[in-house]
């Protein structure tokens, strides 16, 4: 089957067979392996935050923001887990990456690891669908090749989580060995797990148990020393789809509307034009009649548990 035919299939919410997934992941790895840890991306570009297996909302996002190759996309990670359709989501994104490698950039989120996906749903979803863990293995092997950050026109730094006390320059990110499972601690872990905190200065322990929280002074110093203007990141649920902090020098972008089907939040993507102007395009969850709830799953999200 041609990639275009596979994309048609994926857009219909159909998954590929195991051999096709293996082949797809191998091809995507060969593209990813060439990318720098700080990948250069050219504006205009639309930046997308966490998706978490919410396939129908990903399609809604494409309706709102346009689709590849017309729109240049930068995804900030967290494609899988929590939602019901991690397989459909990551499959479609990989196919689009294969078809339009220069119009799709995929960063690694803290969920793109073997350990987290075993806890938060992707492993279970793969096992339910295929009766074994092969598809999960192929995708999680591919995750080890996803790049960790991007730099838009040398001015906007994009990463899934945030900053690290072990990283003060972009060059330090460039020399990290990213081709491995994300460790529990250290610079690599911090980049995908950390959160901004406008109530404190400096770095502090994170309640997440991984990464750190970082304050205004840390951001100011990082921007200054690396001659950049803004940090774009995801990783944290935003009721309004996005949040700007630190005198509008850091933006959080959240692209999973009605997260876990119970938070009833809005989502957004950040559209950066060729002049580096920023616009948060917000959208709500796809209408109910366009969704399919897998019959073997509980019909409603967890409450009282």
């Amino acid at each position: 089957m041609s990639v275009d035919a596979q994309i048609e299939k994926a857009l219909r919410g159909e998954v590929l067979d195991e051999e096709e997934i293996k082949d797809l992941c191998e091809k995507v790895i060969s593209l990813l392996i060439l990318e720098s840890n700080v990948k250069a991306v050219r504006a205009p570009v639309t930046i997308v935050g966490d998706i978490h297996g919410q396939f129908y909302d990903l399609k809604e996002m494409f309706r709102v923001a346009g689709s590849a190759p017309d729109t240049n996309f930068l995804f900030l990670g967290d494609y899988v887990d929590r939602g019901y359709f991690s397989l459909e989501t990551i499959t479609l994104l990989c196919l689009l990456k294969l078809r339009y490698p220069d119009r799709i950039t995929l960063l690694r989120g803290n969920h793109e690891t073997k350990s987290i996906t075993q806890t938060y749903g992707f492993y279970t979803e793969c096992f339910r669908r295929y009766g074994n863990a092969n598809a999960w293995q192929y995708f999680t092997d591919m995750f080890n090749y996803l790049t960790v950050s991007a730099l838009i026109d040398g001015r906007f730094f994009c990463v899934h989580g945030g900053l690290s006390p072990n990283i003060s320059s972009l060059d330090q990110i460039r020399v990290l060995d990213r081709f491995q499972e994300v460790p529990h601690e250290g610079a690599y872990a911090d980049l995908v797990w950390s959160d901004p905190d406008d109530s404190k200065e400096g770095y502090a322990n994170s309640q997440r148990g991984a990464g750190y929280t970082f304050g205004r002074d840390v951001v100011r110093k990082f921007l200054h020393e690396n001659r950049i203007d803004h940090i774009m990141r995801a990783h944290q649920l935003c009721n309004d789809g996005f949040q700007c902090l630190f005198g509008n020098t850091l933006s959080t972008i959240w692209s999973a509307p009605n997260y876990c089907y119970r938070c009833n939040n809005i989502a957004s993507v950040l559209e950066v034009d060729q002049f580096l102007n920023k616009f948060f395009n917000t959208y709500a969850a796809a209408p109910t009649n366009e969704r399919v709830i897998p019959p073997d799953l509980r019909q409603i999200p967890d409450y009282f548990s």
């Binding site: 929590r82 649920l237 938070c263 409603i300």
Partner: protein, 255 residues
């Protein structure tokens, strides 16, 4: 729920020579009694009464009977002397509930902990104060000390999380009429006061979590990285622990 388990154990440990009662309203298929009894029932527990709709109580009784272990823990072979009683009643009709409790007999002069774990949310808004007043009247002035401990989801009228919760539950045929009836901790404390309960307290689960010792919280946080703190906090903001006491002698339930 762990907090409830701890409250029950602390309550039973107070003044251990005095007999005590637990009244669990809307108990459903709760197994707290069996877990407690399996560990060795505190001698001060004189009565553990569980109340729910007749249909639930009958099913629960049937399940207990089918299991020799449970039947033995419930002392079903000696119902008059068993500390465990299953009672069918509708909490929406407070007067009839009180009559049923009188017949058990639940002794209003014995220190009693009344538990409402995720129950009042299912009542109509007017039925909640009616229930609290009726209980207050039964255990009221002159009777033994009594505390009520509740846990409920809660939401403000325009709160998006609450609105989607109502929708999600409704699609499963579950209604939560009082979800938005007492939208703040203050409202819940006022409710308790207006129904005659003293020293009312209410915490959302984020506040309750913050009260745990620092080392316990750090230990839990380090055990496994918790994804999605915002969602965790959002969820726990919408659940409250609340309590009140009767009599001059407040029971120190939560340290």
């Amino acid at each position: 729920m762990a907090s409830f388990q701890r409250c029950i154990t602390s309550f039973l440990a107070l003044a251990p020579e005095r007999p005590k009662q637990i009244l669990s309203l809307g108990a459903g298929f709760d197994t707290a009694f069996f877990r407690l009894r399996a560990q060795g029932l505190p001698p001060s527990l004189s009565l553990w009464v569980e109340v729910d709709f007749d249909s639930i109580i009958q099913r629960k009784e049937a399940i207990i009977r089918r299991s020799p272990a449970l039947a033995s823990l419930a002392s079903l072979d000696a119902p008059q002397t068993s500390p465990y009683r299953l009672v069918g009643a509708d909490l929406a009709t407070a007067d009839r509930l009180i009559e049923t409790l009188r017949k058990v007999p639940l002794d209003p002069n014995v220190p009693t902990l009344v538990i409402l774990e995720c129950v009042t949310v299912y009542l109509q808004p007017a039925e909640v104060p009616a229930l609290l007043r009726a209980l207050g009247g039964y255990f009221g002035p002159g009777a033994g000390p009594c505390a009520v401990l509740g846990y409920d989801p809660t939401s403000e009228a325009t709160d998006r999380f609450g609105l989607i919760m109502i929708e999600n539950l409704r699609s499963r045929g579950i209604e939560v009429p009082s979800l938005m009836a007492f939208p703040s901790c203050q409202a819940r404390q006022q409710l308790l006061t207006s129904c005659g309960w003293r020293f009312p307290q209410c915490l959302n689960m984020n506040e309750a979590y913050a009260k745990l010792p620092v080392q316990d919280r750090r230990r839990v946080e380090r055990t496994q990285p918790l994804d999605e703190l915002e969602e965790f906090r959002l969820l726990h903001q919408h659940y409250v622990l609340w309590w009140g006491v009767l009599g001059d002698n407040p029971l120190a339930l939560m340290g």
